[in-house]
Protein backbone atom coordinates (compact mmCIF):
# COMPACT_ATOMS: atom_id res chain seq x y z
CA UNK A 1 0.00 0.00 0.00
CA UNK A 2 1.35 3.35 -0.90
CA UNK A 3 -0.23 5.09 2.03
CA UNK A 4 2.13 3.35 4.42
CA UNK A 5 4.99 4.69 2.36
CA UNK A 6 3.73 8.17 2.96
CA UNK A 7 3.44 7.65 6.66
CA UNK A 8 6.81 6.52 7.90
CA UNK A 9 5.75 6.46 11.55
CA UNK A 10 3.23 3.73 10.94
CA UNK A 11 3.53 0.06 10.29
CA UNK A 12 6.53 -0.42 12.52
CA UNK A 13 7.16 -3.87 13.92
CA UNK A 14 6.50 -2.54 17.40
CA UNK A 15 2.98 -1.55 16.36
CA UNK A 16 0.72 -2.76 19.13
CA UNK A 17 -1.99 -3.81 16.67
CA UNK A 18 -0.18 -5.33 13.75
CA UNK A 19 -3.30 -7.14 12.55
CA UNK A 20 -5.35 -3.97 12.16
CA UNK A 21 -3.02 -2.01 9.95
CA UNK A 22 -2.53 1.72 10.10
CA UNK A 23 -5.43 3.90 11.15
CA UNK A 24 -6.26 7.11 9.38
CA UNK A 25 -6.19 10.34 11.34
CA UNK A 26 -8.88 13.00 11.00
CA UNK A 27 -6.41 15.37 9.43
CA UNK A 28 -5.55 12.80 6.79
CA UNK A 29 -9.23 12.27 6.09
CA UNK A 30 -9.77 15.99 5.58
CA UNK A 31 -6.89 16.15 3.13
CA UNK A 32 -8.83 15.02 0.08
CA UNK A 33 -5.73 15.51 -2.06
CA UNK A 34 -4.51 12.21 -0.61
CA UNK A 35 -7.50 10.36 -1.99
CA UNK A 36 -6.44 7.65 -4.46
CA UNK A 37 -8.38 5.00 -6.30
CA UNK A 38 -7.59 1.57 -5.00
CA UNK A 39 -5.73 -0.86 -7.25
CA UNK A 40 -6.20 -3.90 -5.07
CA UNK A 41 -9.81 -3.44 -4.02
CA UNK A 42 -11.68 -2.59 -7.16
CA UNK A 43 -14.61 -3.76 -9.20
CA UNK A 44 -14.78 -0.85 -11.61
CA UNK A 45 -12.49 2.10 -11.07
CA UNK A 46 -11.43 1.43 -7.51
CA UNK A 47 -13.27 4.55 -6.35
CA UNK A 48 -15.24 2.83 -3.60
CA UNK A 49 -12.15 1.00 -2.37
CA UNK A 50 -10.16 4.21 -2.39
CA UNK A 51 -12.84 6.23 -0.61
CA UNK A 52 -13.27 3.48 1.97
CA UNK A 53 -9.55 3.40 2.66
CA UNK A 54 -9.36 7.17 2.81
CA UNK A 55 -12.09 7.36 5.43
CA UNK A 56 -11.08 4.09 7.05
CA UNK A 57 -14.43 2.38 6.63
CA UNK A 58 -15.63 -0.86 5.11
CA UNK A 59 -15.61 -0.68 1.30
CA UNK A 60 -18.90 -2.59 1.20
CA UNK A 61 -20.58 0.32 2.97
CA UNK A 62 -19.23 2.74 0.38
CA UNK A 63 -20.34 0.51 -2.51
CA UNK A 64 -23.82 0.14 -1.05
CA UNK A 65 -23.99 3.94 -0.61
CA UNK A 66 -22.95 4.53 -4.22
CA UNK A 67 -25.54 2.05 -5.48
CA UNK A 68 -28.38 3.22 -3.25
CA UNK A 69 -27.82 6.91 -3.94
CA UNK A 70 -27.74 6.14 -7.66
CA UNK A 71 -31.47 5.58 -7.44
CA UNK A 72 -31.96 9.15 -6.19
CA UNK A 73 -31.45 11.27 -9.25
CA UNK A 74 -28.29 9.38 -10.15
CA UNK A 75 -26.31 11.06 -7.39
CA UNK A 76 -24.22 7.94 -6.78
CA UNK A 77 -23.40 7.42 -10.45
CA UNK A 78 -22.54 11.09 -10.85
CA UNK A 79 -20.22 11.06 -7.85
CA UNK A 80 -18.61 7.77 -8.88
CA UNK A 81 -17.89 8.88 -12.44
CA UNK A 82 -16.62 12.27 -11.30
CA UNK A 83 -14.28 10.70 -8.76
CA UNK A 84 -13.13 8.13 -11.29
CA UNK A 85 -12.08 10.95 -13.60
CA UNK A 86 -10.67 13.25 -10.96
CA UNK A 87 -8.90 10.97 -8.50
CA UNK A 88 -5.52 9.55 -9.46
CA UNK A 89 -4.84 5.86 -9.38
CA UNK A 90 -3.07 4.47 -6.36
CA UNK A 91 0.67 4.99 -6.47
CA UNK A 92 0.47 7.56 -9.23
CA UNK A 93 -0.30 11.22 -9.45
CA UNK A 94 -2.07 11.00 -12.78
CA UNK A 95 -5.80 11.10 -13.09
CA UNK A 96 -7.85 10.98 -16.27
CA UNK A 97 -8.41 14.69 -15.82
CA UNK A 98 -5.10 15.99 -14.63
CA UNK A 99 -5.54 18.85 -12.19
CA UNK A 100 -3.43 20.71 -9.72
CA UNK A 101 -3.76 19.48 -6.15
CA UNK A 102 -5.79 22.46 -4.95
CA UNK A 103 -8.19 22.38 -7.86
CA UNK A 104 -8.67 18.65 -7.45
CA UNK A 105 -9.35 18.97 -3.73
CA UNK A 106 -11.87 21.74 -4.37
CA UNK A 107 -13.56 19.79 -7.14
CA UNK A 108 -13.86 16.67 -5.01
CA UNK A 109 -15.64 18.76 -2.38
CA UNK A 110 -17.83 20.29 -5.10
CA UNK A 111 -18.65 16.80 -6.44
CA UNK A 112 -19.71 15.75 -2.96
CA UNK A 113 -21.80 18.88 -2.54
CA UNK A 114 -23.44 18.44 -5.93
CA UNK A 115 -24.23 14.80 -5.17
CA UNK A 116 -25.85 15.83 -1.88
CA UNK A 117 -27.83 18.55 -3.64
CA UNK A 118 -28.96 16.09 -6.31
CA UNK A 119 -30.12 13.81 -3.51
CA UNK A 120 -31.99 16.67 -1.84
CA UNK A 121 -33.39 17.91 -5.13
CA UNK A 122 -34.69 14.45 -5.86
CA UNK A 123 -36.09 14.09 -2.38
CA UNK A 124 -38.01 17.31 -2.91
CA UNK A 125 -39.68 15.72 -5.87
CA UNK A 126 -38.16 17.82 -8.64
CA UNK A 127 -40.74 19.27 -10.94
CA UNK A 128 -39.42 22.77 -10.39
CA UNK A 129 -38.43 24.12 -13.77
CA UNK A 130 -35.87 26.60 -12.57
CA UNK A 131 -34.41 24.11 -10.15
CA UNK A 132 -33.87 21.50 -12.84
CA UNK A 133 -32.52 24.09 -15.22
CA UNK A 134 -29.88 25.11 -12.71
CA UNK A 135 -28.38 21.62 -12.80
CA UNK A 136 -27.46 22.12 -16.42
CA UNK A 137 -25.55 25.21 -15.34
CA UNK A 138 -23.84 23.36 -12.52
CA UNK A 139 -22.69 20.59 -14.84
CA UNK A 140 -21.48 23.11 -17.43
CA UNK A 141 -19.67 24.97 -14.68
CA UNK A 142 -17.89 21.86 -13.52
CA UNK A 143 -16.72 21.24 -17.07
CA UNK A 144 -15.47 24.82 -17.32
CA UNK A 145 -13.66 24.62 -13.99
CA UNK A 146 -12.03 21.37 -15.09
CA UNK A 147 -10.90 22.92 -18.36
CA UNK A 148 -9.68 26.10 -16.68
CA UNK A 149 -7.93 24.29 -13.84
CA UNK A 150 -6.17 21.74 -16.01
CA UNK A 151 -2.52 21.39 -15.06
CA UNK A 152 -0.65 23.32 -17.70
CA UNK A 153 2.82 22.37 -16.46
CA UNK A 154 4.17 20.66 -19.59
CA UNK A 155 2.63 23.21 -21.91
CA UNK A 156 4.35 26.07 -20.08
CA UNK A 157 7.68 24.38 -20.63
CA UNK A 158 7.08 24.02 -24.32
CA UNK A 159 5.97 27.62 -24.62
CA UNK A 160 9.21 28.72 -22.92
CA UNK A 161 11.14 26.88 -25.62
CA UNK A 162 9.29 28.60 -28.41
CA UNK A 163 9.34 31.98 -26.70
CA UNK A 164 10.37 34.40 -29.46
CA UNK A 165 11.92 36.75 -26.87
CA UNK A 166 14.62 34.18 -26.12
CA UNK A 167 16.74 33.69 -29.23
CA UNK A 168 17.99 30.21 -29.59
CA UNK A 169 21.32 29.02 -30.83
CA UNK A 170 19.79 26.04 -32.53
CA UNK A 171 17.36 27.95 -34.69
CA UNK A 172 17.56 26.79 -38.24
CA UNK A 173 18.82 28.85 -41.20
CA UNK A 174 15.26 29.24 -42.45
CA UNK A 175 14.25 31.12 -39.32
CA UNK A 176 17.09 33.67 -39.10
CA UNK A 177 18.67 35.07 -42.24
CA UNK A 178 22.47 35.06 -42.02
CA UNK A 179 24.04 38.39 -41.13
CA UNK A 180 27.22 39.29 -43.02
CA UNK A 181 28.19 42.50 -41.21
CA UNK A 182 31.13 42.90 -38.82
CA UNK A 183 30.86 40.63 -35.83
CA UNK A 184 29.16 42.23 -32.91
CA UNK A 185 31.24 42.79 -29.78
CA UNK A 186 30.99 39.99 -27.30
CA UNK A 187 28.36 40.47 -24.69
CA UNK A 188 27.77 38.38 -21.60
CA UNK A 189 24.93 35.99 -22.24
CA UNK A 190 21.65 37.38 -21.04
CA UNK A 191 20.28 35.12 -18.35
CA UNK A 192 16.94 33.71 -19.39
CA UNK A 193 14.10 35.67 -17.85
CA UNK A 194 12.79 34.16 -14.68
CA UNK A 195 9.58 32.25 -15.35
CA UNK A 196 6.71 34.58 -14.76
CA UNK A 197 4.72 33.56 -11.76
CA UNK A 198 1.54 31.92 -12.92
CA UNK A 199 -1.18 34.52 -13.06
CA UNK A 200 -3.72 33.46 -10.57
CA UNK A 201 -6.36 35.46 -12.34
CA UNK A 202 -8.42 36.19 -9.27
CA UNK A 203 -7.78 39.93 -9.36
CA UNK A 204 -11.44 40.70 -10.01
CA UNK A 205 -12.79 38.31 -7.43
CA UNK A 206 -12.64 40.47 -4.31
CA UNK A 207 -13.73 43.70 -5.99
CA UNK A 208 -16.69 41.76 -7.36
CA UNK A 209 -17.58 40.57 -3.88
CA UNK A 210 -17.38 44.18 -2.73
CA UNK A 211 -19.61 45.23 -5.63
CA UNK A 212 -22.10 42.52 -4.73
CA UNK A 213 -22.09 43.67 -1.12
CA UNK A 214 -22.76 47.24 -2.21
CA UNK A 215 -25.48 46.11 -4.63
CA UNK A 216 -27.21 43.94 -2.04
CA UNK A 217 -26.98 46.76 0.49
CA UNK A 218 -28.59 49.18 -1.92
CA UNK A 219 -31.28 46.63 -2.78
CA UNK A 220 -31.99 46.11 0.91
CA UNK A 221 -32.30 49.86 1.48
CA UNK A 222 -34.38 50.53 -1.63
CA UNK A 223 -36.50 47.41 -1.48
CA UNK A 224 -36.70 47.17 2.28
CA UNK A 225 -40.05 48.87 2.48
CA UNK A 226 -41.62 46.69 -0.21
CA UNK A 227 -42.03 43.00 -0.54
CA UNK A 228 -39.09 41.74 -2.55
CA UNK A 229 -39.53 38.62 -4.62
CA UNK A 230 -37.69 35.63 -3.14
CA UNK A 231 -34.34 35.26 -4.78
CA UNK A 232 -33.95 38.98 -5.50
CA UNK A 233 -30.63 39.17 -3.74
CA UNK A 234 -29.24 36.07 -5.43
CA UNK A 235 -30.44 37.32 -8.81
CA UNK A 236 -28.76 40.70 -8.32
CA UNK A 237 -25.53 39.01 -7.23
CA UNK A 238 -25.72 36.75 -10.28
CA UNK A 239 -26.23 39.70 -12.62
CA UNK A 240 -23.19 41.47 -11.12
CA UNK A 241 -21.07 38.33 -11.44
CA UNK A 242 -22.23 37.88 -15.02
CA UNK A 243 -21.42 41.46 -15.93
CA UNK A 244 -17.94 41.29 -14.37
CA UNK A 245 -17.31 37.97 -16.12
CA UNK A 246 -18.19 39.48 -19.49
CA UNK A 247 -15.86 42.40 -18.75
CA UNK A 248 -13.22 40.03 -17.41
CA UNK A 249 -13.41 37.93 -20.55
CA UNK A 250 -11.97 40.90 -22.42
CA UNK A 251 -9.69 42.24 -19.71
CA UNK A 252 -8.59 39.00 -18.11
CA UNK A 253 -8.22 37.86 -14.54
CA UNK A 254 -11.81 37.17 -13.67
CA UNK A 255 -10.92 33.82 -12.17
CA UNK A 256 -12.99 32.35 -9.39
CA UNK A 257 -16.10 34.14 -10.55
CA UNK A 258 -17.47 31.19 -12.52
CA UNK A 259 -17.45 29.09 -9.37
CA UNK A 260 -19.00 31.96 -7.42
CA UNK A 261 -21.65 32.35 -10.11
CA UNK A 262 -22.50 28.66 -10.00
CA UNK A 263 -22.96 28.83 -6.24
CA UNK A 264 -25.18 31.88 -6.77
CA UNK A 265 -27.27 30.02 -9.36
CA UNK A 266 -27.77 27.25 -6.82
CA UNK A 267 -28.68 29.83 -4.19
CA UNK A 268 -31.06 31.52 -6.62
CA UNK A 269 -32.83 28.32 -7.52
CA UNK A 270 -33.12 27.24 -3.90
CA UNK A 271 -34.40 30.61 -2.72
CA UNK A 272 -36.77 30.88 -5.68
CA UNK A 273 -38.15 27.39 -5.19
CA UNK A 274 -38.40 27.68 -1.44
CA UNK A 275 -39.79 31.20 -1.62
CA UNK A 276 -42.35 30.33 -4.24
CA UNK A 277 -43.50 27.27 -2.41
CA UNK A 278 -43.54 29.43 0.68
CA UNK A 279 -42.31 26.91 3.17
CA UNK A 280 -43.05 28.38 6.53
CA UNK A 281 -43.12 27.22 10.04
CA UNK A 282 -46.44 28.91 10.64
CA UNK A 283 -49.02 26.49 9.38
CA UNK A 284 -52.25 28.35 8.96
CA UNK A 285 -55.71 26.93 8.78
CA UNK A 286 -58.58 28.99 7.46
CA UNK A 287 -62.00 27.46 7.95
CA UNK A 288 -64.91 29.47 6.66
CA UNK A 289 -68.54 28.43 6.76
CA UNK A 290 -70.37 31.63 5.85
CA UNK A 291 -74.05 31.74 6.73
CA UNK A 292 -75.01 34.42 4.21
CA UNK A 293 -73.74 35.51 0.79
CA UNK A 294 -72.62 38.78 2.34
CA UNK A 295 -70.29 36.87 4.63
CA UNK A 296 -68.55 35.23 1.67
CA UNK A 297 -65.24 37.03 1.20
CA UNK A 298 -63.99 37.79 -2.32
CA UNK A 299 -60.76 35.94 -1.49
CA UNK A 300 -59.24 33.56 1.01
CA UNK A 301 -55.52 33.01 1.26
CA UNK A 302 -52.96 31.18 3.39
CA UNK A 303 -49.23 30.90 2.84
CA UNK A 304 -48.80 27.39 4.15
CA UNK A 305 -51.61 25.32 5.48
CA UNK A 306 -55.18 24.74 4.44
CA UNK A 307 -58.25 26.67 3.45
CA UNK A 308 -61.63 25.05 3.93
CA UNK A 309 -64.55 26.98 2.49
CA UNK A 310 -68.00 25.55 2.91
CA UNK A 311 -70.61 27.46 0.91
CA UNK A 312 -73.44 25.03 1.58
CA UNK A 313 -74.67 26.95 4.65
CA UNK A 314 -75.23 30.15 2.72
CA UNK A 315 -78.85 30.94 3.38
CA UNK A 316 -79.28 33.12 0.28
CA UNK A 317 -77.42 31.31 -2.52
CA UNK A 318 -79.20 33.48 -5.13
CA UNK A 319 -77.07 36.38 -3.90
CA UNK A 320 -73.97 34.47 -4.96
CA UNK A 321 -74.99 34.91 -8.60
CA UNK A 322 -72.25 36.48 -10.67
CA UNK A 323 -69.73 36.45 -7.85
CA UNK A 324 -66.14 35.28 -8.07
CA UNK A 325 -64.44 33.77 -5.03
CA UNK A 326 -60.71 33.43 -5.06
CA UNK A 327 -59.03 30.85 -2.84
CA UNK A 328 -55.29 30.40 -2.81
CA UNK A 329 -52.43 28.87 -0.83
CA UNK A 330 -48.72 28.66 -1.47
CA UNK A 331 -48.50 25.14 -0.12
CA UNK A 332 -51.14 22.99 1.43
CA UNK A 333 -54.74 22.24 0.68
CA UNK A 334 -57.61 24.23 -0.75
CA UNK A 335 -60.98 22.60 -0.18
CA UNK A 336 -64.24 24.19 -1.32
CA UNK A 337 -67.68 22.68 -0.88
CA UNK A 338 -70.38 24.19 -3.10
CA UNK A 339 -74.16 23.85 -2.86
CA UNK A 340 -75.86 21.51 -5.31
CA UNK A 341 -78.22 24.14 -6.74
CA UNK A 342 -75.52 26.51 -8.02
CA UNK A 343 -73.76 26.61 -11.38
CA UNK A 344 -70.05 26.74 -10.67
CA UNK A 345 -67.24 27.68 -13.04
CA UNK A 346 -64.02 26.33 -11.59
CA UNK A 347 -60.65 27.63 -12.66
CA UNK A 348 -58.03 25.66 -10.74
CA UNK A 349 -54.30 25.62 -11.21
CA UNK A 350 -51.18 24.59 -9.30
CA UNK A 351 -47.91 26.22 -10.37
CA UNK A 352 -45.44 23.49 -9.57
CA UNK A 353 -46.98 20.19 -8.66
CA UNK A 354 -49.97 18.74 -6.97
CA UNK A 355 -53.38 17.27 -7.32
CA UNK A 356 -56.64 18.86 -8.45
CA UNK A 357 -59.98 17.15 -7.93
CA UNK A 358 -63.13 18.99 -8.94
CA UNK A 359 -66.20 16.87 -8.24
CA UNK A 360 -64.40 13.73 -9.37
CA UNK A 361 -62.58 15.26 -12.32
CA UNK A 362 -58.89 14.91 -11.67
CA UNK A 363 -55.61 16.47 -12.74
CA UNK A 364 -52.24 15.88 -11.15
CA UNK A 365 -48.53 16.01 -11.74
CA UNK A 366 -46.48 19.08 -12.48
CA UNK A 367 -48.25 22.33 -13.24
CA UNK A 368 -51.77 20.80 -13.30
CA UNK A 369 -54.66 22.96 -14.47
CA UNK A 370 -58.36 22.29 -14.61
CA UNK A 371 -61.12 24.49 -15.99
CA UNK A 372 -64.53 23.00 -15.66
CA UNK A 373 -68.15 23.84 -15.03
CA UNK A 374 -70.46 22.18 -12.59
CA UNK A 375 -74.09 22.35 -13.67
CA UNK A 376 -76.59 23.05 -10.91
CA UNK A 377 -79.69 22.94 -13.05
CA UNK A 378 -81.90 25.59 -14.61
CA UNK A 379 -82.42 29.02 -13.11
CA UNK A 380 -79.77 28.66 -10.45
CA UNK A 381 -77.16 31.27 -9.47
CA UNK A 382 -73.82 31.26 -11.20
CA UNK A 383 -70.63 31.30 -9.15
CA UNK A 384 -67.02 31.41 -10.29
CA UNK A 385 -64.27 29.81 -8.21
CA UNK A 386 -60.72 30.89 -8.87
CA UNK A 387 -58.45 28.41 -7.08
CA UNK A 388 -54.72 28.70 -7.08
CA UNK A 389 -51.83 26.96 -5.36
CA UNK A 390 -48.10 26.60 -5.83
CA UNK A 391 -47.81 23.14 -4.36
CA UNK A 392 -50.48 20.97 -2.85
CA UNK A 393 -54.02 19.85 -3.37
CA UNK A 394 -57.16 21.56 -4.64
CA UNK A 395 -60.48 19.91 -3.89
CA UNK A 396 -63.95 21.01 -4.93
CA UNK A 397 -66.91 18.98 -3.75
CA UNK A 398 -70.59 19.17 -4.34
CA UNK A 399 -72.71 19.28 -1.24
CA UNK A 400 -74.50 16.12 -2.32
CA UNK A 401 -71.31 14.15 -2.78
CA UNK A 402 -70.41 14.61 0.87
CA UNK A 403 -73.68 13.36 2.24
Amino acid sequence: MTETDERPSEGRPSDPQPQEGPRVSGEEMRDLGRLRRSRTDRYLGGVAGGVARHFDIDPTIVRVLFVVTSFFGGAGVLAYLALWLLVPDEGTDHASIQLKGDTRRTLIVVVGAVAVLVLLGNAWGGGLGFWRFSWVVVVLGLIAVVLAGRDRGPRQQSSAVTDPAAPEAGSGPDDAPPVYGPPAPWQPPVPPPAPRPRRTGIVWFWPTLALIAIGLGILAVVGGSQHLAPGSYAALALAIIGAVLVLGAFMGRAGGLIALGILTVIALSISTAVGQIGFGFHNQTVRAVPATAAEVQPSYHVKTGSVYLDLTRVADPQALDGRTVEVSANAGQVHVVVPDRVDVDVDANIDFAGDIDVAGENRNGTDPQLHTSLDGGAGVPHLTLDLHERVGQILVDREGALR
Binding site: A235, G248, A249, A254
Partner: protein, 74 residues
Protein backbone atom coordinates in the same frame (compact mmCIF):
# COMPACT_ATOMS: atom_id res chain seq x y z
CA UNK B 1 -5.86 44.10 -28.40
CA UNK B 2 -3.17 41.64 -27.64
CA UNK B 3 -4.84 39.85 -24.76
CA UNK B 4 -6.60 36.63 -25.48
CA UNK B 5 -10.32 36.63 -24.95
CA UNK B 6 -11.38 34.32 -22.14
CA UNK B 7 -14.09 32.30 -23.84
CA UNK B 8 -15.16 30.44 -20.71
CA UNK B 9 -15.56 33.68 -18.79
CA UNK B 10 -17.53 35.26 -21.61
CA UNK B 11 -19.83 32.25 -21.97
CA UNK B 12 -20.52 32.09 -18.28
CA UNK B 13 -20.93 35.84 -18.05
CA UNK B 14 -23.60 35.68 -20.76
CA UNK B 15 -25.15 32.63 -19.10
CA UNK B 16 -25.35 34.25 -15.67
CA UNK B 17 -26.72 37.51 -17.08
CA UNK B 18 -29.25 35.50 -19.06
CA UNK B 19 -30.36 33.51 -16.02
CA UNK B 20 -30.73 36.71 -14.01
CA UNK B 21 -32.74 38.26 -16.87
CA UNK B 22 -35.00 35.20 -17.20
CA UNK B 23 -35.52 35.20 -13.45
CA UNK B 24 -36.47 38.87 -13.55
CA UNK B 25 -38.89 38.33 -16.45
CA UNK B 26 -40.48 35.37 -14.69
CA UNK B 27 -40.73 37.16 -11.36
CA UNK B 28 -42.31 40.26 -12.86
CA UNK B 29 -44.74 38.06 -14.74
CA UNK B 30 -43.60 39.07 -18.24
CA UNK B 31 -43.15 35.41 -19.15
CA UNK B 32 -45.23 32.49 -17.95
CA UNK B 33 -44.10 29.14 -16.61
CA UNK B 34 -44.59 27.67 -20.08
CA UNK B 35 -42.36 30.27 -21.66
CA UNK B 36 -39.79 29.59 -18.98
CA UNK B 37 -39.21 26.16 -20.48
CA UNK B 38 -38.31 27.91 -23.72
CA UNK B 39 -36.31 30.83 -22.38
CA UNK B 40 -34.10 28.64 -20.17
CA UNK B 41 -32.71 26.64 -23.11
CA UNK B 42 -32.63 29.85 -25.16
CA UNK B 43 -30.16 31.35 -22.67
CA UNK B 44 -28.01 28.22 -22.89
CA UNK B 45 -28.08 28.32 -26.67
CA UNK B 46 -27.23 32.02 -26.72
CA UNK B 47 -24.29 31.49 -24.39
CA UNK B 48 -23.12 28.54 -26.47
CA UNK B 49 -23.36 30.48 -29.73
CA UNK B 50 -21.42 33.38 -28.22
CA UNK B 51 -18.77 30.93 -27.07
CA UNK B 52 -18.51 29.27 -30.47
CA UNK B 53 -18.34 32.52 -32.39
CA UNK B 54 -15.74 33.97 -30.05
CA UNK B 55 -13.64 30.79 -30.13
CA UNK B 56 -13.68 30.80 -33.92
CA UNK B 57 -12.90 34.51 -34.08
CA UNK B 58 -10.00 34.32 -31.62
CA UNK B 59 -8.49 31.24 -33.25
CA UNK B 60 -8.67 32.96 -36.64
CA UNK B 61 -7.09 36.10 -35.20
CA UNK B 62 -4.33 34.03 -33.61
CA UNK B 63 -3.71 32.31 -36.93
CA UNK B 64 -3.57 35.67 -38.68
CA UNK B 65 -1.13 36.97 -36.07
CA UNK B 66 1.06 33.91 -36.58
CA UNK B 67 0.96 34.46 -40.33
CA UNK B 68 1.88 38.11 -39.83
CA UNK B 69 4.87 37.10 -37.73
CA UNK B 70 6.01 34.67 -40.38
CA UNK B 71 5.65 37.35 -43.02
CA UNK B 72 7.68 39.75 -40.89
CA UNK B 73 10.55 37.26 -40.84
CA UNK B 74 10.67 37.08 -44.60
Amino acid sequence: MNRTLRVAHLVFGVLFLGIAAVWLLRTTGVITADQLTLSGPAVLIAAGVVGLVVSLATSRRRRDNDNDKENDHE
